[in-house]
């Protein structure tokens, strides 16, 4: 397990937990990131922050601070089932 910020560009991961503060967490969940959602980092802004994610077929940005609190696991490895 790792956090979203450490994930490499182009690698698919699955959300395990969202540890952001309440307000941000609610907003992130409303935008479609919940436990079990598959995410992929598409690009990173100049200076390494924020990041551009592919979520449910659309593009969403998060800052490093928020991405670090989204705990993810490798998706491709478990893709067997």
């Amino acid at each position: 397990m790792s956090n979203l910020y450490k994930t490499k560009k182009g690698k698919k991961v699955r959300v395990v937990d969202i540890e952001c503060s309440d307000f941000v967490r609610r907003k992130i969940m409303d935008m479609g990131i919940v436990k079990g959602t598959i995410l992929e980092i598409v690009s990173i802004a100049p200076f390494g922050d924020p990041i551009n994610l592919l979520v449910r077929g659309y593009h969403l940005t998060l800052r490093r601070k928020e991405a670090e609190k989204i705990i993810v696991e490798d998706y491709e490895l478990e893709g067997a089932y």
Binding site: G32, R56, T61
Partner: protein, 698 residues
């Protein structure tokens, strides 16, 4: 019997285009009570008894933002007969999230599945009948851009509106259904939406039913959370998305789908290395075209039109008609000179607004926020603060309103206070005037730089105060698909913005021109004066002028220009235009100012509190009157200090050629010193979310 239709949908779902297509030009724009969020209503084309209300674009009905709260109150409490939910068919999963919430309200709903054209282009197939069956309401395929499917949408909506409908139950899990049943009997309600909100621990709704301290509700929620092994909010959102995934799986066939071009474009436009050079290039082009090349041509043309064609002809016509001389003076020197002086800049403004609208409508503006976020954060602002400031180069009013996308109240307030420091379109004529008299075009550019430098420094300083300090905001922002803007949509938004400017010229500036003419033509005993020095205006100006003496422009003419600039910044030009009877405007200005005091005057006008229209917008958008007063005081102080530094500093150097450069570097040095001093003083932390921080906020 009339029908009220509410138009609800995600941002970027084509809602505004849909509203325009449904209502045509039959629209009324107002505000929601108590807030400045725009409320657009209109009559459905061909049906005078059917009203359509365009609600703000939102992602959910959770109380995350003002827009979301307004929408849900309107849908629940006002007499809306039917809801049209616009869903972006190319982004079904996220769009249906809002739909699942709307469906739980006991109102008839029709889904307009929009972007039919894009769907076909990308070869995605959606089984409409199955979708309609699964979510329990009519689904109509539409393309608002090409006006396809709208007739059918209207017909079905009218039919559905007449039939009452109970809220639908989503296929929740057994535990959720049981918990909701218990809550319904506890609160004595049947409405599924309210029951879900109570389970969700929504503070506003819980208060509404006076259940804040109800132990039974707490027990139900606790039991539910134990069963799901997570908090109730997460459990419900997760379930919604589980249900949506199921619906999408059963109805969407994207096996042969082509990739959207958005990712390809983004590979270049928001590329880590190319993004900033490309952005700077685009900005340079926009300002070069609208202000320097094409812009200047239009300004010259308009000047000729007002001075020669209109002014001279009206004067000779009135002379021939034997009109009294004072009347001719009022009309030609007062009204035509004053209003014309401002209208001269309308074409330039229209070109600028056109570019800004294009950047917004194509989806590039959101990318700009993305690119600039980390830079802006260094100054205590967010990438989202950049959009208000960019729009603020056109006009501060829409700029200030664009700050709404910033969720955090204090960060939003900070952006609102700083946005007027960016030179708006109305200040351009003033710079153009002084540049023409004293400097080369570089001086105009230096005003933009000065504005940006002041925003940065003021941002850093305010961020170190207790009120604005700390980092709270997030950057959860959708990067919408790129799409070609519709000509109609872009033109109408350009017209909306330019209209405000033209109306201002016709009303405020018209009145101000007449008043200035009267005040400068008469003395206190109501005799017409031959010399402006003896006029009422001069005596008022002379009374206040000493305040500005240390800044280099302590003459009454400049003081009067500053006073009139609060009605509208362009008034500076029209005031000088009216006062300059007998000599050309340029000669007149060169007698009032030296290059140094002229530059200080430009800086003061740039940074001083904005016009009344912007101030009243600021008052509405800021959380308190106290903060508004603080903002005005802050802006005035900054303007005064900077102008003082420029004039007194410049006098020391007394070197008019390299002035702007020297002065700006001087300002930067002084403020840097201030910041460093401030930083040392405010080392302490006011609490953050870091887990290892001892002041941690929960």
């Amino acid at each position: 019997m009339g029908i009220n239709i509410g138009l609800v949908g995600n941002p970027n779902s084509g809602k505004t285009t849909m509203f325009n297509s449904l209502t045509g030009s039959n629209q009324y724009v107002g505000n929601w009570p108590g807030v400045t969020i725009e409320k657009k209503t209109g009559k459905l084309k061909g049906h005078n008894d059917i009203t359509v209300t365009d609600l703000p674009g939102i992602y959910s009905l959770s109380p995350n933002s003002m827009e979301e709260i307004i929408t849900r109150n309107f849908l629940l409490e006002d007499d809306i007969d039917v809801i049209i939910n616009i869903v972006d068919a190319t982004n079904l999963e996220r769009n249906l999230y809002l739909t699942t919430q709307i469906l739980e309200m006991d109102k008839p709903v029709v889904i307009a599945l929009n972007f039919l054209d894009v769907l076909e282009k990308r070869n995605i197939k959606i089984n409409i009948d199955e979708l309609s069956k699964l979510i329990g309401c009519p689904v109509i395929l539409t393309s608002a851009l090409k006006s396809e499917g709208l007739e059918k949408l209207c017909k079905i909506t009218i039919e559905v509106a007449k039939k009452p409908r109970n809220s639908i139950s989503l296929p929740y899990t057994f535990q959720t259904i049981k918990a909701l049943e218990k809550i319904k009997s506890l609160a004595n309600i049947t409405n599924q939406y309210y029951a879900v909100r109570l389970l969700d621990q929504d503070e506003i709704i819980t208060k509404k039913y006076k259940l804040e301290n109800n132990q039974e509700l707490k027990d139900i929620i606790h039991k539910y959370e134990r069963e799901n092994d997570t908090d109730s909010q997460s459990a419900i959102v997760e379930e919604r998305y589980r249900i949506i995934e199921m619906i999408v799986k059963a109805t969407v066939d994207a096996k042969k789908a082509k990739l959207s071009t958005t990712e390809k474009i983004d590979k270049v436009l928001i590329n880590r290395w190319l993004a900033i050079p490309i952005f700077l290039g685009i900005m340079f082009l926009v300002y070069y075209i609208s202000i320097v090349s094409v812009g200047e041509l239009t300004v010259q043309g308009m000047e000729y039109f007002f001075d020669v064609i209109i002014g001279e002809n009206v004067r000779s016509f009135l002379l021939n008609a034997n009109v009294a001389e004072w009347m001719i003076s009022l009309i030609v020197d007062g009204i035509i000179a004053g209003v014309g002086g401002v209208l001269t800049f309308v074409p330039q403004m229209i070109i600028l607004f056109l570019f800004l609208s294009l950047l917004e409508d194509t989806g590039y503006m959101a990318r700009v926020a993305f690119i600039m976020d980390s830079i802006f954060r260094k100054f205590g602002l967010s990438g989202k603060s950049f959009i208000p400031m960019l729009i603020g180069t056109g006009c501060s009013v829409p700029g200030i309103m664009a700050a709404r996308t910033i969720e955090d109240e204090r960060d939003r307030a900070l952006t609102i206070i700083l946005t007027p420091f960016i030179p708006c379109g109305a200040k351009l004529p003033i710079f153009a005037l002084f540049v023409g008299v004293f400097f080369g075009p570089l001086a105009s550019v230096s005003m933009y730089l000065l504005g940006i430098v002041v925003v940065i420094i003021a941002g850093v300083i305010l961020k170190h105060t207790k009120y604005f300090g700390g980092e709270r905001s997030s950057f959860v922002l959708e990067l919408p698909e790129y799409h070609l803007p519709s000509i109609k949509g872009t033109l109408s938004s350009v017209w909306d913005r330019s209209k405000a400017f033209i109306i201002k010229a016709g009303t405020i500036i018209f009145i101000a021109s007449v008043i200035i003419w009267i005040l400068q033509s008469f003395s206190w005993n109501m005799h017409m004066v031959a010399n402006h020095e003896e006029s009422i205006l001069a005596s008022i100006g002379k009374f206040i002028a000493p305040i500005f003496a240390p800044l280099g422009f302590g003459n009454w003419e400049a003081t009067v220009a500053i006073l009139t600039s609060f009605a509208a910044k362009e008034n500076v030009v029209s005031t000088f235009e009216i006062l300059s009877t007998g000599v050309s405007l340029n000669t007149y200005v060169s007698t009032l100012f030296t290059p140094l005091s002229g530059y200080a005057f430009m800086a003061f006008i740039l940074l001083a509190p904005p016009c009344f229209a912007s101030l009243s917008t600021m008052k509405k958008e800021l959380p308190s009157v106290k903060l508004t007063l603080f903002a005005i005081g802050f802006q005035f102080t900054v303007a005064y200090i900077i102008a003082l530094l420029i004039f007194q500093g410049g006098k020391l150097y007394n070197q008019s050629s390299a002035l702007p450069t020297i002065l700006i570097s001087l300002i930067i040095i002084v403020f840097m010193a201030l910041i460093i001093k401030h930083k040392v003083k405010n080392r302490g932390c006011s609490g953050c979310y870091q887990s290892n921080c001892k002041h941690r906020k929960e």
